[in-house]
């Protein structure tokens, strides 16, 4: 059980929440997620996976940022400060930056794919990596965390309708601006990940992917994704992912 210590709406339908209460959070890595039980045993029977957006090890606190899209996130958005949350943490495997030799990183986030990149950027900066971010949103009122990302380096905001920042998709911006990097790290809707992987096919990178989950811990085979090699293999997104090397699994 973790306790909600802060809740704030930071963009349209988008809530930032801080929860604290277990020392395990200090081992959390960027790209990992929490698996939250928002139900009462009847409604919202399945847990909801939400990325870890930030970790405050000292206070045993993590930040999550989520968009209200259905009954589970709606229920979560109604929880109040002081309430307890039933959270499995941390789940999955994150961006393996500890083992990478890297000087310049490009972060590409789309919508609710942006949150995990924040903690990633923070960790990269601690390692002394130069960070450039491209964050895509549908429209102006969905934009969040621009100034937070600007702390780490150049941050380009892109909106589908051009109501804020650059107009178009994140890949359109890549065509315009030349960014140097050794690795890219991306998280967002599958369509975006596909486009990004294609556009940057000669680069090394990592993507974080989504799938509907049952158990969230690797036991039920709900969230599998085929691997790209010829082994006929598969990975479990909840356990082996959600972060994969680009071209490791079929998007």
């Amino acid at each position: 059980m973790m306790t909600i210590v802060k809740k704030e709406q930071i963009a349209k339908d988008t809530i930032e929440m801080q929860i604290c209460g277990t020392s395990i959070v200090s081992s959390a890595e960027p790209g990992q997620f929490v698996h939250i039980n928002v139900g009462d045993g009847n409604s919202n029977l399945l847990r909801r996976p939400i990325s870890i957006a930030d970790v405050n090890k000292g206070e045993q606190m993590i930040t999550i940022i989520f968009k209200v899209i259905g009954s589970g996130t709606d229920q979560l958005s109604r929880c109040i400060v002081g309430e307890e949350l039933d959270v499995l943490v941390p789940c999955g495997k994150g961006y393996p930056i500890k083992s990478l030799s890297i000087t310049k990183a490009l972060l590409i986030g789309g919508g609710i794919g942006v949150p995990p990149l924040y903690y990633l950027a923070k960790q990269l900066q601690e390692k002394g990596v130069e960070v450039t971010s491209i964050l895509g949103f549908q429209t102006k009122e969905n934009v969040f965390y621009q100034s937070e990302f600007e702390q780490f380096g150049p941050c380009h905001i892109v909106t589908d309708d051009g109501s804020y920042g650059f107009k178009g998709y994140v890949t359109d911006l890549l065509d315009k601006e030349s960014v140097e990097f050794d690795y890219f790290f991306s998280c967002g809707p599958t369509g975006m990940l596909k486009a990004v992987s294609k556009r940057l096919e000669n680069h090394k990178g990592y993507v974080s992917i989504e799938q509907r989950m049952g158990c969230g811990i690797g036991a039920c085979y709900a969230c599998v994704v085929p691997t790209c090699d010829e082994s006929n293999g598969f990975k479990k997104i909840c356990k082996d992912g959600p972060v994969f090397r680009v071209n490791e699994v079929v998007l």
Binding site: G41, L45, L46, R47, C220, V224
Partner: protein
């Protein structure tokens, strides 16, 4: 308070076991609690060859339930025996192997393969998986086919055979009697009910497989009814399942006539649910006046309704 209960091939510390497909081969849950607490473990379905299963999405949430269409993904019986059972053999918990197939021969082959290991204490014959194109559920919808596959598997099995019944039938009692007549040592019931959810935006079924199996508390009244009905028609023991979330639910299944129970979907809601229920069970039994698990089995059949009313 004794939670022990004995079934063909299975001497259970308590009547609680995870249901097939909802607990993998135990590894993930072993990181969360000591598997030795469990009454037994029913492992994920095994087929002869490895199967990738259906396309994703494979699960959808419904009111008090979920749909799944995993499609029997598994590495194949040989790899299960080589890679998974040795891990489970470390525990002092009886293992029940769930056997699936698309032909009588496949069921027989898989059962034979499991005879190679002493870790498996019973077979659960899965003739009720609604999520594969061929085999599986056909055998669970026709009493004659069910009888045949049970008989053939019994011929080769070294351990007791429990047949897992499908609720998607007009007459569950006839199915139960058919497999009892074929020599089944016990029944497990119920598997999932075939259902569908349509995604309004995509304008097509949400699951890639279109249909999936409905499980969770939504189906509990159907499970309880079918167990109650079957208990009156056969004498072999029943491992009950379908929507169990609490120790009270376990007692409801025992009263209906289950000798032990399996817990599926609830593991996803709360991965600690099995040990939590095991811990809560003695006080629930006690609250309702039972002295042991065995004391409660079938006790929902005896009491007459007392309200006055004309008919």
């Amino acid at each position: 308070m004794s939670l022990q209960t004995t079934l063909p091939g299975l001497s259970l510390k308590n009547p609680i076991m995870p249901a097939s497909g909802c607990f993998g081969f135990g590894r993930e849950y072993s990181e969360l609690f000591d598997l030795n607490q469990l009454g037994a473990i029913i492992i994920k379905a095994a087929t002869k060859e490895g199967r990738y299963g259906n396309q994703t999405p494979r699960v959808a949430e419904t009111s008090s339930g979920m749909l799944n269409a995993i499609g029997l993904q598994n590495p194949g019986v040989d790899k299960i025996i080589d890679n998974e059972l040795p891990f489970l053999a470390n525990y002092d918990v009886p293992i029940i192997a769930n056997v699936a197939g698309s032909s009588v021969e496949e069921y027989v082959e898989v059962t034979k393969a499991f005879a190679r290991t002493s870790t498996v204490k019973a077979i659960e014959l899965n003739i009720s998986c609604p999520n594969v194109k061929e085999g599986g559920i056909q055998f669970g919808m026709d009493p004659e086919l069910a009888n045949e596959v049970t008989r053939r598997v019994k011929e080769v099995s070294h351990v007791p055979v429990y047949v897992k019944l499908s609720p998607n039938v007009s007459n569950i009692g006839a199915m139960a009697k058919a497999v009892e007549a074929a020599g089944a040592d016990g029944l497990t019931m119920i598997n999932t009910l075939t259902g569908m959810q349509i995604n309004l935006s995509a304008k097509r079924p949400l699951l890639a497989n279109k249909t999936g199996g409905l499980s969770g508390p939504a189906i509990k009244p159907i499970a309880v009814r079918m167990i109650y009905e079957v208990r009156q028609q056969v004498s072999i023991p029943i491992i009950g399942m379908g929507g169990i979330m609490t120790a009270e639910d376990v007692l409801e299944f025992l009263l209906a006539g289950a000798n032990a129970v399996a817990i599926g979907t609830a593991n996803f809601n709360n991965p600690m649910i099995c040990p939590e229920i095991i811990k809560a069970l003695p006080s629930v039994l006690n609250k309702y006046g039972f002295e042991s698990v065995e004391d409660a089995i079938g006790k929902g059949h005896e009491n007459e309704h007392t309200d006055l009313s004309r008919t």
